[in-house]
Amino acid sequence: MISEKGRWSRLRLRLLFTGPTLFAFATVMIVPFLYGIYLTFTDWDGISTTSTMVGFENYASVWKDAVFWKSFYLTLKYVFISVALVNVVAFLLAYFLSSGLKGQSFFRAGFFIPNLVGGIVLGFVWQFIFSNVLVSIGQKAGISVFGTSWLADPDKAFLALIIVTVWQYAGYMMVIYVAGLMNVPKDIMEAASIDGATAFRKLRTMILPLMVPSFIVCVFLSLQRTFMVYDLNLTLTKGGPFKSTEMVSMHVYEKAFLSRDYGVGQAEALVLFLLVAGITLLQVYFSKKLEVEA
């Protein structure tokens, strides 16, 4: 590689090529992240210019905040169920839509549509469906499950949140699984067919093991997105009824910006970060072990 002569021209080049990105990255992500750790040790209320160090008091408050742990547990439950369902549905869609079916690219394009639209709008659309359309159908056709709005019942509202999440992300993950399926070598699949392997056997012993990298990516992405669910939560259920569907992200937002408890809110956000980081790293670590070479 040809390199520039002179320390100054090298530095200028470095600043030109990496300066803007690294400066933005540092000032938008790293500085606030570190400053956020500092904030958890203060009692800043969001208005006053001064704040005092309070040591671990905020963390003690986090420990005692029962609503936080409730939303935390609820988020875990929501993440676990949605990630599983999103990936099963997405994989099945991808499997059926890469078997050479007529019009499969049309289908793929259709299933992807919800991902073009943000969570805010999706939440409002489904709110209308759950509290108007389904209720109207239920009352006219006499189906008692739909007789009253799902969003008014804690358990059903939670279920509604999961349904919409699966509907929203299945198409996106499907696209990634399709890419993975296309990378499964044709020749070994043909060899298996000649040896008389059934479709199910091929799926279980060859396709699934070879698809592990796609599973890693999809589970990683769906974990990240569902843990951070906010828009959808805000517009579909507003955390209700009676805070029964308030996910942790919404709780942190309300703690900080509505209750003006910035220190505690930030401490809760960091607890959330540790959990998300831990789970995603474990997930990537263990699924890497499953990878095989074709």
């Binding site: 090529f17 690294l22 992500m29 059926f96 709008v121 469906i129 828009d231 910035y262």
Partner: protein, 275 residues
């Protein structure tokens, strides 16, 4: 055997078709109801509209301040995506071609930072930029998108720059190009497919983003489409007709783009997942 296979194909096709209809049903419902009057919507949300009444659209259009929201969203999305694509490509290129310890650690730091959830940053972010009086300003928002978007972009570009032979660049430099010229005339054009991928992933994210703009942009004339939809919906909750029209107006631009560029968008998402 052959006939059995053909009927299997058909049943698969029909199952998928039913699934697809169920999938796009919410959007159909939205379109249908956006032309109806309030009373009709609540009484029979499934019925077809009697006429193509555009009154809902007119009312949503003005109440949402659509033109301003749309313009803001376009400016923010286009500039952020351009900045992320060009600057991240430059950074990734520099990292690959100058493999010093410092660059390796910086690259690692960027990749590692990708697991930081936005919620862990938003409170201090608002405090820092609020103290500097930089909030309620779309340029700050664009700058923040560069910061949040560059790690993934640098990561993806990094993988692709490695596959470009260094000889190509050396040849250009022997012919008298500077490093900067080499990048813009040789490397960046070669990276076009990757840039398309990165642009698509970022457009999908930034166009629809809600939480960050809602924290940064506080005055109503700065609002983006998702923000104005949110406030519009909050203010007129019983006015279903205009609400449906408003939601559709928010989705429409990206649906139109998708109609023409769906092949690239799907491809972009595919490429983005396999680094």
């Amino acid at each position: 055997m052959k006939r059995w296979k053909a009927s299997m194909e058909w049943s698969k096709f029909i199952v998928l078709l039913v699934g697809l209809v169920a999938f796009v049903f919410p959007f159909i419902l939205l379109i249908v109801n956006s032309f109806k009057e309030n009373k009709v919507i609540t009484a029979s949300p499934l019925s077809l509209p009697g006429s193509f009444n555009l009154a809902n659209y007119e009312s949503a259009f003005t109440k949402m301040n659509y033109v301003s929201a749309f313009t803001n969203t376009v400016i923010i999305t286009v500039l952020s995506v351009l900045l992320i694509s060009v600057l991240a490509a430059m950074t990734a290129h520099f990292f690959v071609r100058n493999q010093s310890k410092f660059n390796q650690y910086t690259f690692f730091l960027m990749v590692a930072a990708m697991i930081i959830p936005f919620q862990a940053i938003m409170i201090p972010l608002v405090k820092v930029y609020g103290n500097l009086h930089l909030l309620d300003n779309k340029w700050t928002l664009i700058y923040m998108y560069l910061g949040f978007g560059s790690p993934l972009a640098v990561f993806i570009y990094h993988g692709f720059v490695k596959s470009i032979p260094a000889e190509l660049e050396e040849a250009a430099m022997i012919d008298g190009c500077t490093r900067t010229q080499t990048f813009f005339r040789i490397v960046f054009p070669v990276l076009t497919p990757t840039s398309v991928t990165i642009a698509i992933l970022n457009v999908l994210w930034i166009w629809n983003d809600f939480l960050l703009p809602s924290l940064v942009l506080t005055s109503s004339e700065q609002r983006t489409l998702p923000l104005s939809t949110f406030y519009f919906y909050g203010t007129y909750t019983v006015d279903y007709g205009p609400l449906m029209a408003g939601l559709l107006l928010t989705i429409l631009p990206i649906l139109v783009v998708y109609l023409f560029a769906q092949k690239f968008i799907i491809q972009g998402v595919m490429q983005g997942s396999i680094k």
